[in-house]
Amino acid sequence: MAKKTRIKAKLKKGIVTVKAMANHAMLSYQEAEKAKKEVNFITYIVAKVNDKIVYEVSTSQFLSKNPYVKFQFRDGKKGDMVEFKWTDLKGNTQVSTGKIK
């Protein structure tokens, strides 16, 4: 899980659109059984800008592999950093950041 989440954040007319793709196998219970691997999937994603939460989601095993999410928020400035953090079933976390352009 060395690969970072890819983040693209763009400011347009006062609204920031963020596209992020996390790198995660997202093995559901059925899939894990078939592949003889351990179940693991992202359970919680939170994105912050300047320590303010702009996106938050609790997820299940039914997100696709390498989950891609898109969301929008207001009050973003160019150059601000979007902090994107996920937590998976095993308790692993990964924080990635992307600059608003």
């Binding site: 559901s28 219970y29 702009v54 938050e56 609790s58 696709s64 969301f71 009050d75």
Partner: protein, 149 residues
């Protein structure tokens, strides 16, 4: 206005302004563990929102009519409502709940995710706004299952 009233007003305002920040940062996995094991959409909805009575409409759910690959189904939920919570359910996988979003203050509800579905089923998006639930559903035909099916 005397000083005592003024003070309590200030405290009240403070409590209100503090409320949203404590409301957000909820990991529904921890606070509502039952919602994630529910096998029926109704049950899951009840676990997440506490009720199953929803009003159809006002929520836009974008999903393909036919998904060739059940492993990657793009789903977009958007609404102009000022909502506090958004959830996505489907009825083709063993468990119903896909994702529960907490909408931050002043947030825009326009969320896209890609989901997996084992077979043809109905995707339902529910938005909570001012204590009311608004929903929208769509049948997605899956030709190749994505959940090991």
């Amino acid at each position: 206005m005397n000083r005592r009233n003024f003070l309590s007003l200030g405290l009240g305002a403070l409590a209100v302004s503090m409320a949203p920040s404590t409301l957000s940062a909820i990991n529904f996995r921890e606070t509502k563990p039952k919602a994630w094991t529910a096998t029926k959409v109704d049950v899951a909805m009840k676990e997440v929102f506490g009720t199953t009575s929803t009003t159809k409409g006002k929520v836009k759910l974008k999903a393909p009519d036919i998904a060739e690959n059940g492993a990657v189904i793009p789903v977009t939920v958007s609404t102009k409502l000022v909502g506090s919570k958004v959830a996505i359910f489907q009825d083709s996988n063993p468990e119903s709940t896909v994702a529960v979003f907490t909408v931050p203050e002043n947030g825009i509800i326009n969320y896209s995710v890609r989901i997996k579905m084992a077979k043809t089923g109905t995707v339902t998006a529910v938005v909570e706004s001012n204590g009311k639930l608004y929903s929208s559903s769509k049948i997605v035909k899956v030709t190749i299952g994505g959940c090991g099916g």
